[in-house]
Amino acid sequence: MEEASKISRYLYTVIVLFLIWLLLTASLDPQELGFGLILSLIVAAFTYEIFSTGGLANLHPKRVAYAIAYVPYFLWAMIMANLDVAYRVLHPKRPIRPGIVRCKTVLNSDVGKLALANSITLTPGTITLDVDGDNYFIHWIWVPDEAMTEKEEEHVKAASEGITVPFEKFLKVIFG
């Protein structure tokens, strides 16, 4: 993703910081709002260069809608994965087959890669060990048969379908 203009990045940082301020104070007192706005302007002036590369384009309605929809989707995936791990722990035979697999991602932006890595880590059973360009190295609690192949492409394809693809549907739209 190419860089947006400085003004756009600055305004985007101000808006995000001001929203955080609203959540922090949880009050609509005009004094709090006014001071929060001033603080957001100041903090954004110092940090907008590292905070955002996309600028205001991040607030595109489609992206925001996908981001909101992603929350319940991700929570559901997290609950199911937790139950799955609980089942593996409680099962007398303890059916684990751990291994490190390589996945490829279609995401381009750094923030998207961060979100994907965190989504993978927060769903138990999978942990992101390292991200290197397009490659994700992931520790999996139960490596399925499809991924246990000698052929590199098949392995990567099977692993990606099991781990990254379900999240990428959303993250591709949100972060690009």
Binding site: W21, D29, V43, T47, I50, F51, V111, L114
Partner: protein, 235 residues
């Protein structure tokens, strides 16, 4: 072995001695002498809802000025101890993309939250020192995630000195208006914010002083981190 046994025995004796001393203090009973005065008068005398900050900044402002001085000396001392002509960051390993991108996203939030803490010193727990330490955490995070990151030294040192002087200046204005150092002129003479207790623009000069302390502590701790992370390089 003998050394360790002696150390344990002497620690036990000291502990027993301290426990004997504390056994005479009744916990959970009303033993407040001057404390009751603070609790009764804190609102109309200082305008602060948070009694701790009122005591720290208003009733006993000298102590806080002393603490700020101690911190300044600590920062200067670290700078003097580690002073070398040529010092650079020699870290080689850049953090992974997860760490660096996470830091980019978090740093502004941490700074905003630090500012939130010090500006609400008269209303909520916290104040200038926790707020400043929080802001320094953001800079520490930037230092740890990026191998080349450097704080803007010139600006930081100037800001640090300027806010330190403005604390004394606020006190001196009080001396001119009210007759003694650190007199709360905004509250007692101007009466600014009297009908406002509990909202943001109240508390006399507590928010002003805590903003000053927050910025000072933030820049100072960042400077200490910067000094300690750098290593001497030889040409």
């Amino acid at each position: 072995m003998l050394k360790r046994a002696l150390a344990i025995i002497s620690l036990l004796i000291i502990g027993y001695w301290l426990a004997q001393g504390l056994a005479g203090v009744p916990f959970g009973q009303d033993r407040m002498l001057v404390g009751q005065y603070y609790l009764d008068h804190v609102k109309e005398q200082t305008g602060a809802v948070n009694a701790v900050t009122a005591v720290v900044v208003n009733y006993r402002g000298f102590d806080t000025l002393g603490e700020v001085t101690v911190l300044f000396i600590a920062s200067t001392g670290v700078g003097a101890l580690l002073w070398r002509k040529k010092r650079e960051r020699t870290a080689k390993t850049e953090g992974s993309i997860v760490l660096t991108t996470g830091t980019r996203l978090l740093a502004p939030f941490i700074m905003l939250f630090g500012a939130y803490i010090f500006i609400h010193g008269h209303l909520t727990p916290g104040g200038g020192f926790p707020g400043g330490a929080t802001i320094a955490t953001a800079f520490l995070l930037l230092y740890m995630a990026f191998t080349v990151y450097e704080i803007p030294h010139k600006a930081f040192e100037k800001v640090e000195g300027a806010v330190g002087m403005s604390y004394v200046l606020v006190g001196l204005i009080g001396l001119a208006i009210g007759g003694y150092f650190l007199f709360d002129w905004i509250w007692q003479t101007w009466g600014w914010g009297h009908n406002n207790i509990g909202r943001l623009f109240s508390g006399g000069f507590i928010p002003v002083i805590y903003t000053v302390i927050g910025i000072k502590v933030g820049t100072e701790l960042s400077g200490i981190v910067d000094n300690m992370l750098k290593e001497e390089v030889r040409e």
